[in-house]
Amino acid sequence: MLLDSLFNGVAIGSVLLVAALGLAIVFGLMGVINLAHGELMMLGAYTTYVTQLIFKLPLLKPYYNAYVIVSIFVAFIVSGVVGILLEKTVIRKLYGSPLETLLATWGVSLILQQFVRSIPLAYGTGLVISLIIGLFLPSVFSSKVKESINFKYVKFSSWIIAALAGVLSGNLISSSVSKLSRASARNVDVTAPSWMRGQVEILGTAFPKTRLMIIIITLISVIAITLFLNQSAWGMRIRAVTQNREMSDCLGISTEKVDVLTFGIGSGLAGVAGVAVSLLGSVGPNVGGNYIVGCFMVVVLGGVGNLLGTIFASFGIGIMTDLIGAGRLLSIWPDMPLPLSNTVNFFATTSMARVMIFALIVIFLQFKPTGLFPQKGRMVEN
């Protein structure tokens, strides 16, 4: 019973964690809350759907079972590229005014939502492909080419190639997968491959395999991001800029590159979260909105100084949601006095559990206003 509850809590928490991880890293570095984070998750979820349909084509049919694994990487790239584009076009201009960024990213999220409603997914895929090629093709050339004065022509022509590739692949996909050729605002469903259906029995309790898979995805993402931040050179630069932007800039770290990279990684993680979300339920234009507020709670509760804060906060919220929302306190302590048990019953729905958790967080903030693991410093303003 207790194990069951713990597992459910950890499952809820791990979706929150993988979704909030990207948000927290970007917030820590740039002080920017990305309201389009939920929509980047939605893009990840739709990417899973598209990947699934493409793997049903005769050519890729033998590898169908592997599509979930492939889509994790594809979703990371798709959301990451959209995030990089967002940083380069909008967020960079608003540097230093976080509230304005908040509003601008909300605008982006509206556009993305309407985009998946009114553009056929096949052409959307084509557009994303041309974005990927256009952004990355110039960087494959050697630095000698880059320094020559004709590099702008190289850039220009690679965008033309990218556009062509996008149109071609869009047409190809829409002609071969009929489901993707029409725009629709309806929700779509991702079906898990056969090896992910069913349950596993551990210690006499049955665990659904999809949830285990999500926990594994989360675990791998957290380990990967920790290793990246702590072991790699760019990770070190990101940490340096997070701690003190001016000083890092003075020491020769290109803060601009760090910003793009971090935003790309944060958005990519949203895409991975989208894969996890698509395994839990149907995918629609509003799917991100259901998770985004949970992510905000995690960021507020966890603080921005440390990844540990994000981890503790998301599992804490996950386990509390399960404990309160499913009314498990009653089953743990059956002969609770009546007024108390009435209160527990009153909050024993998912939506009322949110109400309770918000109240708890506001109370918690009275004691630790900057979250579990605040960033240490002596600045007046932070």
């Binding site: 917030f27 002080g31 920017v32 809350i33 909008v90 201009k93 608003l94 230093g96 005014s97 976080p98 509230l99 304005e100 960024t101 908040l102 509003l103 601008a104 909300w106 605008g107 982006v108 999220s109 509206l110 556009i111 939502q113 309407q114 409603r117 009114s118 932007r245 001016e246 909105g289 507020v293 905000f296 709670m297 960021v299 507020v300 729905t349 939506s351 009322m352 949110r354 109400v355 918000f358 109240a359 967080i361 506001v362 903030l365 009275q366 206003p369 600045m379 007046v380 303003e381 932070n382």
Partner: protein
């Protein structure tokens, strides 16, 4: 934050006001009933926009949760109307209670039998809720983006709560006011709606004068001080918590009044008033109109909503694109809003671009950036 305090010249303000009043006076005779009703609703939204302008434009607090107070005001008004017109229903309580097997009016609705209490409740309750929430948050020096996402989370929490409580407030269905009675007439009838239009127009003007009075003088100066450099205000000996709490609850009260007026004119209040997009839209009305200018908030609310209804009637799918674009455009290109743009160098620059006006030969005032500016923003 690099943001000049905008001051409209007396002449411009006067001209705009003459236009507004002329329009309001002429509206009932030139607009069809449907459009007049829409205009009335949008005017009531202008009141909540004034509140948003007070807290965001003047004090620098971006609240994404004004929908809470808006809906609270709406619920207070709707419940009063439902209770007063419930005499023909069993137990003398509104009809929907019967659906969920509730026989007695829940105790906290009891005072709403009195019209005077209800009139006060419409703005006092939202103001109290805003004050409490604000105090708990400001006390800990939570501000900036943290404050914004906390208000958004609060909004969602209230939405969940109101959505789930059928037995207390009819849950997701909301409370209808159309078929209730006021002064012996149906609230949805044309004559009452016409009266509400006038009433709303008067209250918008009253709210404008009130907001003007609030931001004038020393109180207003402190608000602007908090917006531009809060630590400095604190070090000078003022307590920003107090001022922020007061202005936040004023904005909450204005939102409540606005919600009540909007409810009686649209015929229903429901948890939909507390959805996240609606509350963020309120911010964009102010941003487009020109934050820091009270008139801008009013104009922004009315014009954007009118544009929204016109565009969504013609091309339903495109409004989201337009609105999204508007958000991005207004923060990147027009940070001071339309009125701010018109007041500043904007029109002259435009005319110069078009070649209609000669360039000034002397140097324009140089914008020397303070060297500490960059540090302060961190």
């Amino acid at each position: 934050m690099e943001f000049k305090n905008l001051k409209l010249t007396k002449k411009t303000t006067f001209v705009i006001w003459v236009l507004i009043i002329a329009f309001i006076v002429a509206a009932p005779s030139i607009l069809p009933v449907f459009r007049l009703n829409l205009l009335g609703r949008y005017l009531s939204l202008a009141i909540v926009a004034l509140g948003v302008d007070l807290i965001w434009g003047f004090t620098g607090l971006l609240s994404l949760g004004q929908g809470i107070f808006f809906a609270l005001g709406g619920y207070c008004a709707a419940m009063y109307l439902q209770i007063t017109s419930s005499s023909e229903f069993p137990n003398n309580i509104p009809e929907f209670f019967g659906l969920y097997g509730v026989d007695n009016l829940p105790f906290f609705w009891e005072p709403f039998r009195s019209p005077i209490f209800s009139l006060f409740a419409i703005w006092v309750i939202p103001a109290l809720v805003a004050g409490t929430l604000g105090f708990l948050v400001f006390r800990n020096r939570i501000k900036g983006v943290y404050f914004s996402i906390l208000t958004q989370a609060a909004l969602l929490v209230f939405f969940n709560f109101f959505n789930g409580q059928q037995k207390l407030i009819n849950g997701t269905n909301g409370l209808k006011t159309d078929v209730t009675q006021l002064f012996g007439q149906m609230v949805g009838s044309e004559s009452i709606q016409r009266m509400f239009f006038w009433f709303t127009a008067l209250l918008v003007i009253a709210a404008w004068f009130f907001s003007k009075w609030v931001v004038k003088g020393r109180f207003g100066n402190i608000l602007i001080g908090i917006r531009d450099d809060e630590p400095r205000v604190r070090f000078t000996g003022y307590n920003p918590v107090l001022f922020k709490t007061i202005i936040f609850s004023i904005a909450g009260g204005l939102a409540g009044i606005s919600g009540a007026l909007y409810t009686v004119q649209s015929g229903i209040v429901s948890p939909q008033f507390m959805t996240v997009p609606f509350s963020i839209e309120m911010v964009i009305w102010v941003a487009v109109g020109g934050r820091g200018t009270l008139l801008g908030a009013i104009l922004g609310a009315v014009l954007i909503n009118y544009a929204k209804s016109l565009v969504s009637e013609a091309l339903p799918a495109s409004w989201m694109f337009i609105q999204g674009g508007l958000f991005i455009l207004v923060v990147t290109a027009l940070p001071e809003g339309v009125l701010g743009w018109a007041q500043g160098e904007g029109p002259r620059n435009l005319l110069q671009r078009l070649g209609l006006k000669r360039k000034i030969e002397t140097y324009p005032s140089l914008e020397i950036k303070n060297e500490t500016e960059g540090l302060k923003n961190e």
